[in-house]
Assembly symmetry: C3
Homo-oligomer: 344 residues x 3
């Protein structure tokens, strides 16, 4: 009598090149999401904490945290893209195109831009470019993500291999600066640190010092808030080793910890790449360090850009990333490459 | 020197037929409650997630989740009705009469409609009809609930037995459709599933597949949010076996899990009955299944009604409810009978 | 290659008498903070729960809970005042000067008003008077706090000792009553208890009965919400014995528990003093009792003031505070002395 009305998720052979997927469950955000974001992460970047500070930087008020916007857009794609994913392989060409404000309603659309069956014949890699839209049908965020997805039927024919040509990193002139942004009268005292764009040198490594031991209740609250309901994050028995923490929880935790040393890296404007190097579980104490990868000027008044590597760990020294074998060290959780906007 | 100013709760002999109880602590709700509801439960019904989607269905915006409204109204009754309750026995004749919007202030009033002393003489059953009002003194919700309450004094005389005549289920024409609701242009893609009212057959069982392992911190956050402060939910030592999870937490968890297969059962309009079959504790992994009990048309454009049994379990197969002895199986947590509004 | 851009915190010799510190990271609050406050604590004081109830008391709506305002103001001072603190020694002369409303942006400024090196030469006591401002540069809260802070260099010369002359308690006429407050038509039924100002006798002790067992996830959510990111509250390994719970979490928990017996002690207007008698850890079950210390009339219609001792414990009888040696009993967590505004 049981009929199958539940979503089994898509398998590798369900994707076709150029396919457009309109993801379900649009989401209106409010001050509630901002408050919860600050309860879940030690987030202190002043532009997202204070409407007054944001106004002092030329914006109409404090937007929703850039990563909260990312998580909402990303969460919508999970039922269509990664329910049967074996691994989340990477990100590229991510750009925040417009701030998200309290009252905005977000939805997500993805296009399949690459397909490659694995040599085993049992799975394949799917590349999608996802765009997040607000209620005015304006794009607020876009990024490419690729995942390894199971095949339903190992005998299904392989599609023609198309691996998209993705930029190793965005150039600074591809970044979109929020309309009106002006750091000329930036208040370094209220922001929490005196360090300007010019104080950061390429190659510099910053140990963010603090650590947060993660609890099950917290990562589940966060992950549900983004309506990412993949069972591996919630059902203790869905996966050997217990609940797997949503990679985005680690990203937000590391970014919030990076305030200590990067308090003025206010805005995330671009996501060049990212790897979830090792799984994170409750009980792990997450720490973070950053490395300055590049610097660039922008066309906006007083606004510079820093390209940063943000690394989350559950141990090990700041700066330690890979072993002699070229593989991530076992304590490394995240290696994220992004562009931030910083006062000059 | 200690005086008793604290609330000892009412005992069985404190209730009289026809008694009206104005429950304390009115509550204004905001976008904060919506955000928290989505952090606490894997809630994805689009009408409550997106103002835009709700507008597409003829409403002025997304209301507060129906069950969040229920919990707020219910929570206010706890200090007066169930502080000395030995068991929460049942619900009947529940109707959602008006949506609750951000900014509304809710309060609750109950009337005692039945009393029956138990043969032991040590306790009795109290039936109350509770109404929730908004700041315009409009009723937003009403339901009957009955509980077994201790007597303060076993020698107190028994009241005349009055057991109210309660409907086994509401008929569909007793349901109140939110003003303006129109599912004619319902967007099944954004809602997340293609299944219409006509796709559900009476007798059909839906296994909602996913599970959530419950943590102490989460059920306490939820229960406090509804200002239900009964100590058994918070004080580890108040009760043998540890903190008892508020039954409403299980209701909301099961309803949210039911999205997977019932994404279009958007609105809860009626509560026919419900039993908390077994206690739930932190560490339990809650799963859910539903059975279609009845179908009816409504007077609103494009809007059908499904009568559904929603069962929460901590194990066991979908469809398994009672043993040969007619008793609930030990893994069954909740058996809820409700009417949902569904696009036709 | 690692440069030090992170905040090492101030040491004793970094403070000078009269020094003004503008604390970083202003914060805009919304309905999200109110909802979270009610999810984190069993808070039920009607004036903060219901806009309608607050209007009935002459206010334009429900303000943010007084202690939530305190925590936001306090949290901003942590990176400058207590990052290297060995102990939080006391509070005095705290006054709430204006309600905080949803939409307000808060920031904090402290002035060093006392310095005293300890005889060991390794640390010293720093007194600061902290003021919290809203976006109109109006003071919303002020209080004195003193902490014991490590010296960076034990050989650094001692400053001249200046110990400020602090009032043992505010007199009632120093309290600031929120503009418009009028308890003439106070609704005792909706507030939850019938006890008026005149029903409380000096010396009376109230056992608040209920208890809450604290979880790691909850105190961390709370502490982060106030942007207090001191690592001892988050990093399991930062301190022997595990994560130390932020003292303010205990204050809010005890105050919320005190609803049961003090439901009409609606508004906290003054903080006379306070001691965190013993550390609190996850797993502790927090209970509370109060003692009426003083009573006073005020100039506002229907508004009286009660001076109350609020004690949080993890065990022991109501009324038990100190041992024969004059020291706090080991189960006492908090001894707080405050003024509340109560209907007459």
């Amino acid at each position: 009598m049981t009929k199958t009305k539940t979503n089994p998720g898509r398998f590798f052979e369900d994707y076709t090149l150029g396919q457009r997927i309109d993801h379900a469950v649009p989401r209106t955000v409010s001050g509630g999401e901002r408050a919860l974001y600050h309860a879940l992460y030690p987030a202190r970047h002043a532009l997202y904490s204070s409407d007054e500070f944001a106004r002092g930087c030329g914006l109409p008020g404090a937007p929703l945290d850039d990563l909260a916007a990312f998580h909402v857009i990303f969460g919508k794609t999970v039922p269509d893209i990664s329910l049967n994913a074996l691994a989340n392989l990477g990100y590229a060409e991510g750009r925040w195109l417009r701030p998200v404000w309290a009252g905005d309603t977000l939805r997500s659309v993805s296009e399949v831009i690459g397909l490659k069956q694995n040599s085993s014949g049992k799975s394949g890699v799917v590349w999608v470019r996802t765009k997040g839209f607000n209620q005015h049908s304006e794009i607020v965020l876009e990024y490419v993500r690729w995942v390894m997805v199971k095949k339903r039927d190992a005998d299904a024919p392989a599609p023609e291999t198309v691996a998209p040509d993705l930029a190793a990193a965005l150039s600074a002139d591809q970044l979109v600066i929020p309309k009106g942004l002006d750091f000329t009268d930036y208040d370094f005292t209220l922001a929490g640190e005196p360090h300007r764009w010019g104080d950061y040198a390429v190659g510099e490594v910053i140990d963010h010092v603090d650590g947060v031991t993660i609890e099950e209740a917290e990562h589940m609250l966060a992950t549900r808030l983004w309506q990412n309901t993949a069972k591996v994050h919630f059902d203790r028995d869905a996966r050997e080793g217990g609940r797997l923490i949503y990679g985005g929880h680690v990203i937000s935790m590391a970014r919030a910890l990076s305030f200590n040393g990067l308090a003025n890296a206010q805005i995330i404007a671009g996501l060049n790449g990212g790897a979830h190097a090792n799984p994170c579980h409750a009980g792990d104490t997450v720490r973070a360090w950053s490395e300055v990868l590049d610097r660039a000027e922008t066309s906006a008044p007083g606004v510079g850009a820093l390209r940063l590597r943000l690394v989350a760990t559950k141990g090990g020294a700041a700066g330690a990333l890979k072993g002699e074998d070229g593989k991530y060290l076992p304590d490394v959780l995240l290696d994220l490459d992004y562009w931030a906007l910083v006062p000059m």
